[in-house]
Symmetry: C2
């Protein structure tokens, strides 16, 4: 019998039922493991791994044909070195995180615009101060760098909240979602940054996106611009960003990702001015919507795999997403 290793801890009884039913229809049985770890002495049994499996555990899965990650950012899974053979298909769960991460972006953007961290500090000290200037998503000029599921979910919400213009910037020229007022390619980024009030970064971690928000590009942003990053910490020249924030050359930033993670206790990022830092919490399996969708997307691609069709969320390992 062909076998699937489901290496995840979040499954409800309903999730297991859905997975097992789909697996049975496709001629598979399912074994479950806690997220993170697939025991080496059992790994050879599995044709498919679904979930969060440590990259170092994959080599032992000598009969592996398809690794379906239960998350979107697969940068730790693109190298041939971690696989037992180069033909293992890699897919991700792009599409499961749009709701949760876009709500995170809306939340932190409003917290920055409305000076919420300052008010929270005032309240912790039992003060009662009112007179701080605020800004609004309504009427703002927003640039979304990375127009995948997450960026586009945010773009739709930003438009609904009254953003004046939402620009999408992406790797290749394609027709965009109607949520975007304007679409640009990466080589046009420098012309877009000076007119950006809120820059939202939702990029995968690839060679091309490393330090894409460079020191030079940070300098192109207006002094009153905010930066929000939910993709990968590597996408920003973090040193340059810290300098700009500490020198008030930017209004503020919200980082859910940074370098390294977890952040060491003595890292200067903790004390950076006007920085709203969160410990990589925007995605994860924290929402029921995410967990349900994740299982649904796997089952959809399991049917594709069993029928010999192309996987819908197949990752091009050379490109990185």
């Amino acid at each position: 019998m062909r076998k699937i290793a489901a290496v995840e801890s979040f499954f409800s009884p309903e999730h297991r039922e859905t997975i097992e039913k789909t697996a049975a229809e496709c001629g598979f049985t399912v074994d479950y493991f806690s997220d993170g770890h697939l025991p080496a002495d059992q790994a050879a049994d599995y044709e498919i791994i679904y979930g969060l499996c440590s990259p170092k555990d994959i080599k032992a899965a000598v009969n592996l044909r398809w690794l379906c990650c239960s998350f979107a950012g697969v940068d730790a899974y693109t190298s041939d070195d971690i696989y037992p053979h180069p033909d293992v298909l890699l897919s991700n769960s792009s599409g499961a995180y749009g709701v949760t991460i876009s709500e995170h972006i809306i939340m932190v953007t409003l917290m920055l615009l409305r000076q919420m961290p300052v008010f929270e500090q005032i309240v912790r000290e039992r003060g009662w101060e009112k007179g701080l200037p605020m800004r609004s998503i309504c009427g703002s000029s927003i640039t979304v760098l990375g127009t995948g599921d997450i960026g586009t979910n945010f773009a739709r919400r930003a438009k609904a909240l009254g953003a004046k213009v939402v620009r999408g910037v992406r790797r290749t020229k394609k027709a965009g979602d109607p949520a975007y007022d304007e679409m640009y390619t990466l080589d046009e980024l420098d012309s877009v940054l000076p007119k950006t009030e809120i820059l939202v970064m939702a990029l995968p971690g690839t060679k091309e996106t490393a330090h894409i928000l460079s020191r030079e590009r940070i300098a192109l942003l207006p002094r009153d611009a905010y930066v929000v990053n939910v993709g990968r910490g590597t996408a920003i020249d973090q040193e340059a960003l810290m300098e700009a924030l500490n020198a008030d050359r930017l209004a503020g930033a919200a980082l859910d990702v940074c370098v390294p993670e977890p952040l060491p206790k003595d890292h200067p990022l903790w004390d950076t001015k006007n920085l709203l830092l969160t410990p990589h919490i925007s995605g994860n399996m924290s929402l029921g919507i995410t967990r349900d969708l994740d299982v649904e997307l796997f089952c959809e691609d399991l049917r594709n795999y069993a029928a010999g069709r192309k996987l819908k969320r197949l990752v091009d390992r050379a490109v990185g997403y």
Copy 2:
């Protein structure tokens, strides 16, 4: 010459130009005073007061015909006692605060649903914790108590963010904004509360709304419900709410208004569990949009006043809004 006292500090040169131009067209001149205070020895000069004028300064304005408050909550201005004669017209600036207060509500609702205060505490201690359950506006069942400009602006945004159902509860039966999936009157509130996951209160301070969220009604809310109040602190039995929060009989609350304001340093509200408190900052003149709209709405009603038409934002002092 007929005269207007503009008792506000937020006006830009453009605002003054707009006010003066409209005033001239209507046969008025304008004098400016800092917000809060109209000098007693000049008060008799003015037929109209626009802005934030202390209730105790109004009696001296013996020739006053119209008081246009630059804010929405006029509960301190409904008593005949503060006026030089009972025929003074009272209007407010309902319509200027929808954007800023609805963005506040979206922000604090997401902060509650996504456990942001807990994560902020973790980050202050330089920790790196991820595994907290979260919830989403997407798919939620929301009740908006008070369906004026603020409640309706929030309702539209909540629907755009994917709320499953947004119920409006209002004083009288009227056709509601299409943002509401269902409309109820206040006497139906008890039947709506048990199916409410997020209760948003945006009510004026009136006799009818005092303690409308009573101890008994708090007990009708599900244990996992959140309460957000941006109207008046008097609308909630605050003692009962604190007890419910401290006993985990509610998931949490966000209060931008409370009793009394400012809150004394030794008040138990500061230490109430799962409470996100802000110092009455959701409205104010913090947004440019609010300031521009406020001036625009005054000018619109000034034209109505000069032409002998009914004021658009006339307050029924007996009802309180």
